[in-house]
Symmetry: C2
Subunit: 155 residues, 2 copies
């Protein structure tokens, strides 16, 4: 039930992260994580990439990427990928810049997903076997953003 009629249509549509090299990021988010590139808009100084899981299952009422939840928007400011002076983006998890924490994927089998990430050479911030919380993991995307891997269903 929506809390009020005024907010009844609201959805948590997307999260935006800046990325240094779209080629590396798209490879990670599509090939490693399995997202689909739903849309791409090229502007004069930047390009936006919109990624979702299971693209094509949306309602077809005149929109796709705006009418659903769980969209990831990657912003590429042109030139960062080849600029030797570019320092990279802060992941948000250390000073300076602490604030943003992570994005998270729900999967049906954390161990199996992480074995596959290992095979694909993905960097880990925390393997399931590290620390006390054995049921979750954190992998790193090409910019160092944390991606939590958590079990989605407890059937």
């Amino acid at each position: 039930m929506p809390r009020t009629a005024e907010t009844a249509s609201f959805k948590f549509n997307h999260t935006m992260l800046r990325v240094r090299d779209p080629e590396a990021s798209l490879k990670f988010y599509t090939e490693v994580l399995g997202m689909d590139l739903a849309d791409k808009t090229v502007h004069e100084t930047f390009t936006l990439y919109f990624l979702v899981f299971n693209y094509g299952n949306e309602v077809t009422d005149g929109t796709t990427r705006f009418g659903r939840e769980g969209v990831l928007e990657l912003t590429h400011n042109h030139g960062t990928e080849s600029d030797p002076d570019f320092k990279g983006y802060a992941s948000g998890n250390s000073e300076p810049g602490r604030g943003f924490g992570h994005i998270a994927l729900a999967v049906d089998d954390v161990e199996k997903a992480c074995e596959r990430f290992e095979r694909l050479g993905v960097k880990f911030q925390k393997r399931p076997s590290d620390g006390k919380m054995r049921h979750i993991a954190f992998i790193l995307d090409p910019d160092g953003y944390w991606v939590e891997i958590v079990k989605g269903y407890y059937p």
Copy 2:
């Protein structure tokens, strides 16, 4: 269609932001934006708040907040709300700490939503009438994180 069987179960479950004062943030995300508090877990040094739109519409297969997309996780590290030396969190949109950009809500009427935000005293980073992009707005949450307001449907 999932890209591979290995990623078929994956969902973009949540985005995590650190907040200074959970009372102010919960008021903003529930009363202003209309989200529901779906879950809260209290730990020794921090508390996690999980917010979603339209809580209660989930499949009831043993899970709620882990089995869907569009969850916002707010992390409160205990004490920040009353620590005079706490500097606040970086929004990610200026140096230092640039990287994370924003979260976004899809709404059916951007103008009407923004008129209501004005009435509620919400701070704007960009009103619909500012700049060239008249169809979107950015409001600020209590920590200064940007929340984009975008039209969800084009019927």
